[in-house]
C-alpha cells in the first residue's frame, strides 16, 4: 500500500535545465569585444523584402508602388530609405516646376516645366525685370519727349472741342440768343434789351414774333446738342491716341528689357512664349509702373534700389516656384518622406489672404506639397498616418491614377467655404510611392479598396525572425557591432553580445530563432551603454545588458506586481500546494503595451447528470472570446468520442475561470479545462503545485500555444513568492519545448530541483502527471483498467446515463393505481 502511494505521488521529472534556456556561448562568437569585430550595417534576414523594395525602386513602369509591411522596430524605414536612396542616386535630378500668371484667365494659372535649376534663375530674372521697368517707365513718362507728345495730342483734341463750341457761341450771339448755364445743362434764351427774355415779355409778344424766336432758339438748341453729342466721340478718340502714345513709349523700353531676359533663356521655348505674353501685358498695363512710383515711400534706401517686385500689383509677373533643384547640389532624384501626410501637405494648397475683410488669392499663393517635391523620385509615407488624414488617401490615389497633381482645397471639396479660388493647371506626376505600415492595414486595404491592388502592385513583407544558425549568430553579432558603431556606443564584450542575442531569442519566442525586431535590441544596447557609462566602464558588459533588460521589465511590471501581490495575499485564490478535485491552475498571458507576463488562474469544473451539455460560464456571460469557446466545445467532442460511447451523453458540466473579470480568449487553457473536468468526473484530486497550459484537440493531443515562457515564469513567480517546494512546475505542450527561453532564475530553480517544466504530448500524459494515477488505456475488452482515471470517468458517465434513463422511465411510466386516489 505504501509502495502504491509512493508511486501515485510521484511527479514526472521535468525537462533538463539545458532545455529551458538555450543560451548563446560567448566563447563561440569568436571575438572579445565588438571593437575587434567587422561591423555589418546590412539588413539581415530580409532578402524577400529587400528584393521587393529594389524592384519597386528600379522598375520604371507605372503602378509598381510599394507597400512595406511588418512590425514596428524591424528597420523598415531605414531599409527603405537606404535602398531607395541608392536607386535615386542613379537617376538625374527631375525638372523644376513653376506656376505663372495666365493673363487671359488669372484664375487658371499656367504650370511650366523648366530644366532643373532654371526656376530660381527665371524668378530672379523676372524680379529684376519688374524692378528695372518700375524705374525705367516712370522716367520715360516724366521725360520732356513724352510731355511734349501728350501736350500735342491734348492741344489737338482741345481745339477740336473748342472750335465748334466757340463757333456756336458766336452764332448764338449773332442771332441775339444768350447761352445760359443751369445746374442741369445749357439753356438758350432770346436777348431783349441786352438781357435774357423774361416770361412776361415773351407772353406779350405777337404770336409771329414768338414763333420766330422759338424757331431760332430751337434751331440753335439742336446745333448745340449736336456739338455736345460729338464730345464723347472726341474723348474716345483722345483716349485712344493717348493709349497709343503710352503703348508706343512703353513698348520700346519693355521690349528691350524683356529681350534681355529672353536672351538668358533662349534655349527654353516655353519661357520665350511666356515672356512674349509678359511683354504684351506690361505694355498694355504700363500704368502699373507709374502707380508704383507715385506710391513711393520715404524709406531709408534710395529709390533706385527699391524692390518694386515685392509690391502686390506686380504679383502678376511673379514666378511661383513649386519645385526647384540646385543642380550643383541636387544630382539625384528626390526621396521625400512626409511625416504629416495631410491632404494639403500632399497635394499642396491654395492659400488666401484677407483683403478688406474678404478672402482673396492669386497664383503666387499656391504652395507645393510632398507630391511636388517628390515628383520624379520617391515618396515615403506612413500608411496609418496617411489613412487617418481626411481625403489624403483619396487624393494620393487620384494623383497616381491620373499621373498628375491637382490641387483641391478641402474647403472647396466639402463646400464649406465660398470664396474666390483657383484652378491651377495639373502638374504631370512621375512618382514611386512607398507606404510603410502593418500587416493588418495591408490586409484591410487589399480587402476593402479595390484600387489599392492596382496602384500598389508590390509588397515588401518583413520577416519577424531569423533562424538561429551558427552563421546567423555570427552575422547578428556583426549587426550588433554595427549598431554600436552607428549609435556611437561603447564596444560590447562577447558576453554582452551573447546576452543580447539571448534577448533576441527571447523576443522571438523561439529558442531556434532570433527576433528581427532590431529596434528593441537597439533600445537595450543604448540603455546598457548608459549603465556602463555610469559605472565608468569602457565596455558594455553582460551585467549592463542584464541590468537594461531587468530595468525595462521592472519599469513595465507595476500591474504584474500588483497581481502577484493579490495572489500572495490570497485576494486572488491560487493554491500551489495540496490536491483538489475539479480544480486546476491554468495560465494566461497579459499584455501591458510592450510588456507581457504570465499569471495563473484557477479553473474549476463541476459535473452532474444532465443532457450532455458542457457549459462554458465565460461564454454564457460574454467574457469568453470565440477561440476560448471553441476550445471548450472541443472538450465536449473529446468526452463524447472517448467515453461511454454506447450510452447517451448525460453530463451536465460547467467550467469557469475563477476571479476572471476582464474576459478570456484563446484556447491555451483548453487542456487545463479538460483536466479539471476529468478530475471532477473521476473524483481524483489534481496537484495544485502544478499549472497547465496547452490547447487540446478532439483526439486528446496537446497542442502548442504562445507565450510559453511568460506563462512558466508567471507561475514560477507565484510559487516562489509562497516558497518553492520542489513539487511545483508547469505542464507545457511538448511542441513548445523549442520555444523555451526562460529566465535564468527559473533555470537555476530547475537545476536545484525546486521547479520543473514537464513536456506532455497527450491528455493522458497530463492527467497522470497531475493526479499521480495512471490514465489507463482501453483494453481489448473495451474497458479501461480498473482504478485508472479513464475508467473512473467512464464509470461516472455511465452512472449519469443510467440515472438519466431511470429518471426518464419514472417520468414516462403510467401512474400506479394507488397513486390515482
Amino acid at each position: 500500500m505504501a509502495k502504491r502511494k509512493s508511486k501515485a505521488d510521484l511527479i514526472p521529472a521535468g525537462l533538463a535545465p539545458d532545455a529551458l534556456r538555450v543560451q548563446c556561448d560567448p566563447a563561440e562568437l569568436g571575438f572579445e569585444t565588438t571593437a575587434n569585430l567587422r561591423a555589418s550595417h546590412m539588413m539581415i534576414g530580409q532578402e524577400r523584402a529587400i528584393e521587393a523594395i529594389t524592384l519597386s525602386a528600379s522598375i520604371t513602369h507605372k503602378d509598381f508602388n510599394l507597400y512595406v509591411l511588418g512590425r514596428m522596430g524591424m528597420g523598415r524605414h531605414e531599409t527603405v530609405a537606404k535602398l531607395v536612396s541608392k536607386q535615386a542616386a542613379d537617376r538625374p535630378a527631375p525638372s523644376d516646376w513653376i506656376y505663372v500668371n495666365n493673363f487671359d484667365a488669372p484664375h487658371k494659372p499656367h504650370a511650366m516645366m523648366l530644366p532643373a535649376g532654371s526656376a530660381s534663375r527665371l524668378k530672379s530674372a523676372m524680379q529684376d525685370l519688374v524692378d528695372d521697368l518700375a524705374n525705367d517707365i516712370p522716367a520715360l513718362f516724366e521725360s520732356e519727349e513724352y510731355q511734349t507728345q501728350r501736350r500735342a495730342i491734348e492741344e489737338e483734341f482741345g481745339q477740336r472741342h473748342e472750335e465748334p463750341i466757340a463757333e456756336f457761341a458766336e452764332r448764338a450771339a449773332k442771332d441775339g440768343v444768350a447761352l445760359l448755364r443751369t445746374p442741369m445743362g445749357f439753356m438758350l434764351a432770346a436777348i431783349v434789351d441786352g438781357k435774357p427774355i423774361k416770361p412776361e415779355v415773351y407772353e406779350a409778344l405777337a404770336p409771329e414774333e414768338r414763333a420766330r424766336i422759338d424757331a431760332k432758339v430751337e434751331r440753335l438748341q439742336d446745333q448745340l446738342a449736336k456739338v455736345l453729342r460729338h464730345g464723347p466721340q472726341l474723348e474716345k478718340e483722345y483716349r485712344h491716341r493717348i493709349e497709343e502714345l503710352h503703348a508706343g513709349l512703353a513698348e520700346r523700353v519693355v521690349s528691350l528689357r524683356v529681350k534681355e531676359v529672353a536672351d538668358q533663356f533662349a534655349k527654353i521655348a516655353k519661357v520665350g512664349t511666356y515672356l512674349e505674353l509678359v511683354r504684351r501685358d506690361m505694355i498694355s498695363n504700363a500704368e502699373l509702373f507709374l502707380i508704383s512710383k507715385e506710391e513711393s515711400g520715404n524709406g531709408p534706401f534710395p529709390e533706385v534700389i527699391r524692390k518694386f517686385h515685392l509690391e502686390p500689383q506686380f504679383d502678376r509677373y511673379a514666378v511661383n516656384i513649386m519645385v526647384s533643384h540646385d543642380v550643383s547640389r541636387d544630382v539625384a532624384a528626390p526621396v521625400v518622406s512626409e511625416d504629416m501626410p495631410t491632404l494639403h501637405h500632399l497635394t499642396g494648397r491654395i492659400e488666401h489672404i484677407s483683403e478688406m475683410g474678404t478672402l482673396a488669392t492669386n497664383f503666387t499663393l499656391i504652395k507645393p506639397g510632398a507630391l511636388h517635391r517628390a515628383n520624379g523620385g520617391f515618396l515615403v509615407l506612413d500608411a496609418a498616418r496617411l489613412l487617418s488624414e481626411p481625403y489624403a488617401w483619396e487624393a494620393l490615389k487620384r494623383s497616381l491614377q491620373s499621373q498628375s497633381i491637382s490641387i483641391t482645397s478641402l474647403g472647396d471639396r466639402l463646400g464649406l467655404v465660398s470664396t474666390v479660388s483657383l484652378e491651377p493647371d495639373p502638374i504631370p506626376l512621375t512618382l514611386r510611392v512607398v507606404l510603410i505600415g502593418d500587416r493588418r492595414l495591408h490586409m484591410l486595404l487589399c480587402m476593402l479598396d479595390p484600387e489599392f491592388n492596382e496602384l500598389f502592385k508590390l509588397q515588401a513583407d518583413f520577416e519577424d525572425d531569423l533562424p538561429r544558425t551558427a552563421k546567423n549568430t555570427r552575422l547578428m553579432a556583426r549587426v550588433v557591432a554595427g549598431y554600436a558603431q552607428q549609435e556611437n556606443l561603447r564596444p560590447m564584450s562577447a558576453a554582452a553580445v551573447a546576452a543580447l542575442l539571448d534577448q533576441a531569442v527571447r523576443l522571438a519566442d523561439d529558442s531556434k530563432k532570433f527576433t528581427l525586431q532590431l529596434g528593441a535590441l537597439k533600445n537595450v544596447m543604448r540603455e546598457a551603454d548608459h549603465y556602463a557609462g555610469q559605472s565608468g566602464k569602457a565596455l558594455i558588459t553582460e551585467a549592463d545588458i542584464a541590468q537594461a533588460i531587468t530595468q525595462a521589465d521592472r519599469r513595465a511590471s507595476r500591474i504584474q506586481e500588483r497581481l502577484q501581490e493579490a495572489v500572495t495575499r490570497k485576494t486572488i485564490l491560487i493554491d500551489t500546494v495540496g490536491s483538489v478535485v475539479g480544480q486546476v491552475n491554468g495560465l494566461s498571458v497579459i499584455g501591458t503595451g510592450q510588456h507581457y507576463f504570465g499569471r495563473p488562474s484557477r479553473i474549476t469544473a463541476r459535473v452532474r447528470m444532465g443532457a450532455g451539455k458542457v457549459i462554458d460560464i465565460e461564454r454564457e456571460v460574454e467574457l469568453g472570446g470565440p477561440l476560448h469557446s471553441k476550445g471548450v466545445l472541443i472538450l465536449g467532442g473529446f468526452l463524447a468520442s472517448r467515453y461511454a460511447r454506447d450510452v447517451p451523453m448525460s453530463l451536465h458540466a460547467s467550467l469557469v475561470f475563477e476571479q476572471s473579470y476582464g474576459g478570456v480568449d484563446g484556447d491555451s487553457a483548453s487542456s487545463a479545462e479538460l483536466y479539471a473536468l476529468l478530475s471532477a468526473l473521476s473524483g481524483v484530486a489534481i496537484r495544485q503545485g502544478l499549472a497547465v497550459t496547452g490547447s487540446v484537440n478532439q483526439n486528446g493531443e496537446v497542442q502548442a500555444i504562445g507565450g510559453v515562457n511568460e506563462k512558466i515564469e508567471g507561475f514560477f513567480d507565484t510559487c516562489k513568492a509562497r516558497r518553492l517546494t520542489g513539487e511545483q512546475g508547469v505542464l507545457i505542450p511538448a511542441a513548445n519545448v523549442e520555444h523555451l527561453m526562460l529566465r535564468r532564475d527559473v533555470v537555476e530553480a530547475a537545476k536545484a530541483g525546486k521547479f520543473r517544466v514537464i513536456a506532455i504530448k497527450t491528455i493522458d500524459d497530463g492527467i497522470e502527471a497531475l493526479t499521480g494515477r495512471p490514465a489507463g488505456k482501453r483494453k481489448r475488452s473495451g474497458a479501461f483498467p480498473e482504478g485508472s482515471i479513464n475508467a473512473l470517468v467512464e464509470a461516472q458517465l455511465r452512472t449519469f446515463a443510467e440515472t438519466r434513463r431511470r429518471f426518464a422511465k419514472d417520468v414516462t411510466a403510467p401512474p400506479k393505481p394507488e397513486d390515482m386516489t
Binding site: R151, E154, G158, E162, F186, M187, Y202, A225, L234
Partner: protein, 254 residues
C-alpha cells in the same frame, strides 16, 4: 461774405451751380500742396434762370447733348439745394486735404456781380465755369502790356506746373512782350476772340491792372474762356458795385 481767416492766400470760389464750381475745385485741389490757404465758397442763384425756365416749351441741353424740358421752379429749387450741399462738401474736402480753413454761403443775383461784391478780404476770386471736355487746356493770364512779374504771374506759373498745362500770356497793349509764351493783342476784343478759340483750363486776370476793368468785360471773358476765371484785385471793382448781399460772419470751420 464772412471775413476770411488769416492765411497767405485766400481764395473765394463763386459759381452758379455745382457743375460750374467743380472745375475750379478740381484745380484748387491739385494746388493743395502750395502755401497755406483759406477757401470760401459762394453759390449764387441766378434769378434769370428761374424766369427763363418758365417760358413755355423751354428746353435744356445736357452736357451729353440730350434735349430735355426745362425744370419747374420746384424742381429747380431742389436741384439748387442739392448743388449747394455738393458744393459745400467738395469745398470741405479740398480744404481738408490742404489743411485749410473754409466757409460757404449761398446768395442770389448775378454770378459775376455777386462774386465781386463778396470779394472783400479775399486775395483771389474764382468765377466758376464748367468744363465741357476732359482735355487739359492752357493756363492763360490776360494782362495789360507790359506784363509785370507780380503775384498773378507767380500764381499762373504755379498753376501751370500743378496742372501740367502750358502757360500763355495774352497781353493787350501796343508794347511788345519778350517773355516766352506771350501773345500781344492790340485790343481786348482781339484778345477775347483768340481766347474764344483757345482750349483754356484757367484764365487769370487782375482787375486792378487791366486790361479787364469792368463788370461787363469780366462777363465777356467768362463767356469766351469757358473755364474758371482767377480774378486778382477784385476788391478794386468790388468796391464800385452795390453790396446786394451782406453775409453775416460765421465761425471758422475745421
Amino acid at each position: 461774405m464772412t471775413a476770411p481767416p488769416r492765411a497767405e492766400t485766400r481764395i473765394l470760389i463763386g459759381a452758379g451751380s455745382f457743375a460750374d464750381a467743380t472745375a475750379a475745385l478740381k484745380i484748387l485741389g491739385l494746388m493743395s500742396a502750395g502755401p497755406t490757404v483759406a477757401f470760401g465758397g459762394l453759390l449764387i442763384e441766378d434769378r434769370d434762370i428761374l424766369d427763363i425756365c418758365q417760358i413755355p416749351n423751354q428746353r435744356v441741353v445736357s452736357a451729353s447733348g440730350a434735349l430735355v424740358f426745362a425744370p419747374s421752379p420746384a424742381q429747380l429749387r431742389t436741384v439748387i439745394e442739392a448743388d449747394a450741399k455738393a458744393f459745400q462738401r467738395s469745398l470741405a474736402k479740398v480744404a481738408g486735404l490742404a489743411g485749410a480753413a473754409w466757409s460757404f454761403e449761398h446768395s442770389i443775383g448775378d454770378l459775376v456781380q455777386q462774386s465781386l461784391t463778396a470779394s472783400a478780404g479775399w486775395d483771389i476770386v474764382v468765377v466758376g465755369h464748367r468744363s465741357v471736355h476732359p482735355m487739359r487746356g492752357k493756363i492763360i493770364s490776360l494782362r495789360a502790356a507790359p506784363v509785370a512779374d507780380d503775384a498773378l504771374e507767380a500764381f499762373s506759373e504755379r498753376l501751370a506746373t500743378s496742372l501740367s498745362g502750358e502757360h500763355l500770356v495774352f497781353a493787350v497793349g501796343d508794347r511788345p512782350e519778350n517773355r516766352p509764351g506771350s501773345h500781344v493783342f492790340a485790343t481786348l476784343d482781339a484778345a477775347l476772340a483768340a481766347l474764344a478759340r483757345t482750349n483754356a483750363q484757367a484764365v487769370l486776370l487782375d482787375l486792378s491792372q487791366g486790361p479787364v476793368r469792368r463788370l461787363d468785360q469780366l462777363r465777356q471773358v467768362l463767356e469766351v474762356a469757358r473755364c474758371p476765371l482767377f480774378v486778382f484785385g477784385a476788391a478794386t471793382l468790388g468796391n464800385q458795385v452795390e453790396h446786394s448781399t451782406q453775409i453775416p460772419p460765421g465761425r471758422e470751420r475745421p
